[in-house]
Amino acid sequence: QGLLRRSVSHSFLSFTSISEARQAIQKLTRVRVVDNSALGNTPYHRPPKCIHVYNKTGVGKVGDKILLAIKGEKKKALIVGHKMPGPTMTPRFDSNNVVLIEDNGNPIGTRIKTPIPYILRQREGEFSKVLAIARNFV
């Protein structure tokens, strides 16, 4: 799955390198869904992309909710890790990780194998159900 972003299969891209700017998640960023939901794991010819960030600034960090476009549908998601370095002592992941979520905050999947940062525990009230299905913490 990590090699997806390296494939240059589109004909309209004439250059060989896709620059990977390590910024946080904003509109049109390709993200990686980490839970075991069917929507996130079935392959599709387009990667899931962010189309809106529910934030005053359009930039999403860990713990922000975003709108994803997956398989032709709109779904809300929660950011659990990004490639941009954050404050010291917080982990920086090698891919932009996201967990699919309903409007009321219930996660769609049943298990999250990838490590989740402990910072999310701060907002235990909103994310308690997502934290309950998470297995590893960093």
Binding site: R92, N97, V138
Partner: protein, 247 residues
């Protein structure tokens, strides 16, 4: 006992005294001064660095910061209000040591469940409860940022790794591992001479390697304005730090 030629008993010759060679004292003591003690080149008042060094030594008296290099595997336990048991343990390979003075940082990298995680810790932060060196070794480069573009097997370390013992007086082993990379594109063009990386096994064609040499700047090593000789400064700081630590 030899029979003398004269027939008289030979004079008693005592055996030669054994020469005791204390091999432990003979070995040259390995000096290690942490790189954040060395002040950067600039025009600031050395008093500022002296005061910072005093604070750094104060912290080191209370909390032991072991000797480690880029490429050694460390386990760090930090105090985290949101973790269970309030403390959080992370094991990883040190890929970079940056910053000078109290803001010195080091970045640990590990691959957990297929996901690469890097955490930048501050050496002198009061949140750090313990730093253990699980494997003390050096690598061919000072900066292992290329591990992000290398195959994940080179960055995976078991979270419950046992510490490997290291003898005090021996030299630190240099791991001459040549790392294999994922297919290009990489986050940085590591084959270029600017990064001067020796720890990658480049499997690129010769033409690409030659093209990368176009960006070499051979005049840089002869540039006298860029020279920063730290040997004398290191001697001074070494003496100062050792005196303070003994108090």
């Amino acid at each position: 006992c030899r029979a003398s030629s004269d027939g008289k008993p030979a004079k008693f010759q005592p055996p030669a005294k054994p020469v005791i060679v204390d091999k432990q004292k003979q070995r040259v003591e390995r000096r290690f001064l942490s790189p954040e003690f060395i002040p950067p080149r600039g025009r600031t008042d050395p008093l500022k660095y002296y005061m910072e060094r005093k604070d750094m030594i104060q912290r080191r008296k209370v909390f032991n910061i072991p000797e480690f290099y880029v490429g050694s595997v460390l386990a760090v336990t930090t105090a985290d209000p949101y973790a269970n048991n309030k403390s959080n343990r992370f094991v990883g390979i040190c890929i970079q040591r940056g910053g000078k003075g109290l803001g010195a940082t080091f970045v640990l990298r590990n691959v957990i469940e297929g996901q690469g995680v890097e955490i930048c810790y501050e050496l002198y932060s009061p949140r750090i409860q313990a730093i253990e060196v699980l494997k003390l070794e050096k690598r061919l480069d000072d900066n292992l940022m290329y591990l992000r573009d290398a195959l994940p097997e080179y960055s995976t370390f078991d979270m419950n790794m046992k510490p490997e013992s290291h003898l005090d007086h021996e030299e630190i082993p240099v791991n001459k591992l040549q790392v294999r990379m994922k297919p290009k594109p990489w986050s940085k063009r590591w084959e270029r001479p600017k990064y001067n990386i020796k720890g990658i096994k480049f499997e690129l064609p010769e033409s690409k390697m030659k093209e990368a040499q176009k960006w070499s700047q051979p005049w840089l090593e002869f540039d006298m304005l860029r020279e920063y000789d730290t040997s004398k400064i290191e001697e001074q700081i070494w003496k100062e730090v050792n005196e303070e630590l003994k108090k």
